[in-house]
Amino acid sequence: MKKETGPGRRLRIEGKTWLIVIVVVTLLALPLFIRSVTFFQFMILILWYAYLTTSWNLVGGFAGVLPLGHAAFAGIGAYTSSVLFIHYGLTPWAGMVVGGLLAAIVGVIIGAPTFKLRGAYFALATIAISEGLRVILENIQKIGGFEINGARGILLPLKGHSPIDFQFLDKRYYYYIILAMLAVIFIITYRIARSKLGYYLTAGGEEKEGAEALGVNVAKCKLIAMAISTFFTAMGGTFYMQLVHYIYPRGILSLDLSFEIAFIAIIGGRGTLMGPIIGAVLLVPAAELTRTYLGGSYEGVHLMLYGAVLMAVMLFRPRGLMEPLEAFYRWGVQKLAPQTSVAADEVK
């Protein structure tokens, strides 16, 4: 008989609060000690992926389906805020929210018919829709009077250091912003996991009819999760634009990015709270380092790493690396402080 080690328990973080606190404080304090721009670019990348994967996790983890076209929503966010900024001078802070709302609406419209599809069909549909959107954007020069330049993309007018325009010269601002965004989506995921919606989502994702007989409107729950997920993903797209000042369809609505988000979340542990973040923390640095030191030929090598790790995880730990890591953590604590009780707390 197996004790529960499933997602229910993995959501518990009480026992590790002190660890989280240390990490958060360290992250907040880093800019005081470190000046290297490259370092912060690196950290921003990790946090950005962690943010995107955590947003994805609401649908891909909790709702139990496999969306492989989520980058499209980042694209919607990026394009919306940029177009509004260029044509109306609307501050990207507001544009971000507008983009998020638009993405949420699109997400629900797409989700309604797509959630009826079975596993692999659903995945294929999300790919097709994402690619379809990309293709449309590549071929249109103007949408309703707004210039978007098709495949050449949009260049953001540079304003130097201009907080109101969401542009900064010092990367550390971006670092704090993405850190804050990650904290927000993390807390939201935490709250959802412990709420009726969270229980209903995971139930409906696992066993639809059984859940419906218990009062779960599975379709509605999935759509709610989709709306929240796409809203935040879109905001991540805006952030990206404000950081790099340039987007083009193949760059932001890319299948590569969609797949990466999914892989990282899955490798870390989809459906868990920390899984996607852990996945990002492990994989993004590894990929960047591989690319910097070994990659002579394009992106070749870091992708081999992703592919190999993904296969290995699917073969040996399909539920993700969270479980083994937690076990390792418990082992570590036992070694260092044998008196500490790390027995299972209540199940939430």
Binding site: A125, G132, I136, N139, M304, G307, L310, M311, P318
Partner: protein
């Protein structure tokens, strides 16, 4: 007027090759209910195999199939045996088994990246005696290599059909696809059949690679386009249906060919995606309603 006819014919010819790739995919799905995201990568591997075989021996790819196709079969067999089977087993009771999907996705990424590292990014082509040669059918000009590809596809489809319907292994494969548990009860070794079916699917891709090389090029990313097309075709034709795959392929080929006359390549792509999504939502069992051809 003959522009349109030639366009359609070329579309049909190219569509047959798409259909060929899709046949392998639909076979694998029909039997194992596995979506093989790495399918395009196998095609890429087949094309490189054909390329290097040509470089080494100077033999025509069609003759080279004697070597390349069994090679691809073995490749597919072992990938399934070593990688897919264990993951498949773990997942057997899970409602929406995505681990295999993710595994094949990982395989796709890995293979493409590995090929890039191994073969480099240059486009590789081969020069057969008939490269660039054309046939004239009345007013219509048709490339010889595409025509050969078309013939091969037709022959292969017939052979495949006969294989599945008449031979013992073929019947075992179909039985497994229809009802895995019943097949097991009949004494069929399911695991072995899965290995064989997968290998066969990849062998078909091996043929596709061979017929493509005379008029196409090999490159680490060449599989991607074919991969997506293959999925679209498989859904159009009905997952598991061999004739559906061929017909679906022809449709896509024609749409692509005709579309290219009037709009940019990316718009044509967009149309194909639109068709795909519509079929997924409106008629997921496929346009033709072929019951899985078992």
């Amino acid at each position: 007027m003959d522009i349109t006819l030639a366009t359609i014919i070329n579309g049909v010819l190219m569509g047959c090759v798409y259909g060929l790739t899709a046949m392998g995919l639909t076979l694998i799905f029909g039997v194992m209910k596995v979506i093989n995201f790495a399918h395009g990568s196998f095609l890429m591997a087949a094309m490189f195999a054909t390329y290097y075989f040509f470089r080494l021996t100077g033999m025509d790819p069609y003759l080279g199939m004697v070597v390349t196709v069994p090679l691809l079969f073995a490749f597919g067999y072992f990938i399934q045996h070593l990688l897919i089977r264990p993951v498949f087993k773990i997942e057997r009771d899970i409602r929406e088994p995505i681990s295999v999907l993710m595994l094949t996705a990982g395989l796709w990424i890995f293979m493409d990246a590995f090929a890039l590292a191994l073969f480099g990014a240059f486009y590789k082509t081969i020069k057969t005696s008939y490269r660039g040669a054309v046939y004239h059918f009345g007013d219509v000009t048709v490339s010889v290599s595409r025509f050969y590809a078309f013939l091969t596809t037709v022959i292969l489809t017939v052979l495949l059909y006969l294989f599945l319907k008449r031979t013992r292994i073929g019947k075992a494969i179909r039985a497994t696809g229809q009802d895995r548990d019943a097949a097991r009860l009949m004494g069929i070794n399911i695991d072995r059949i899965y290995d064989v079916a997968f290998g066969l699917g990849i062998a078909i891709v091996g043929v596709a690679g061979a017929v493509l090389m005379p008029f196409y090029y090999a490159h680490p990313t060449v599989g991607v386009v074919f991969d997506i097309r293959a999925f679209i075709i498989v859904v159009l034709g009905g997952l598991g249906s061999i004739p559906g795959a061929l017909l679906g392929g022809v449709i896509i080929g024609v749409v692509e060919s005709v579309g290219a006359q009037f709009m940019t390549a990316t718009w044509t792509e967009g149309i194909i995606y639109a068709i795909f999504v519509s079929v997924l939502f409106l008629k997921p069992e496929g346009l033709f309603g072929f019951k899985a051809e078992w």
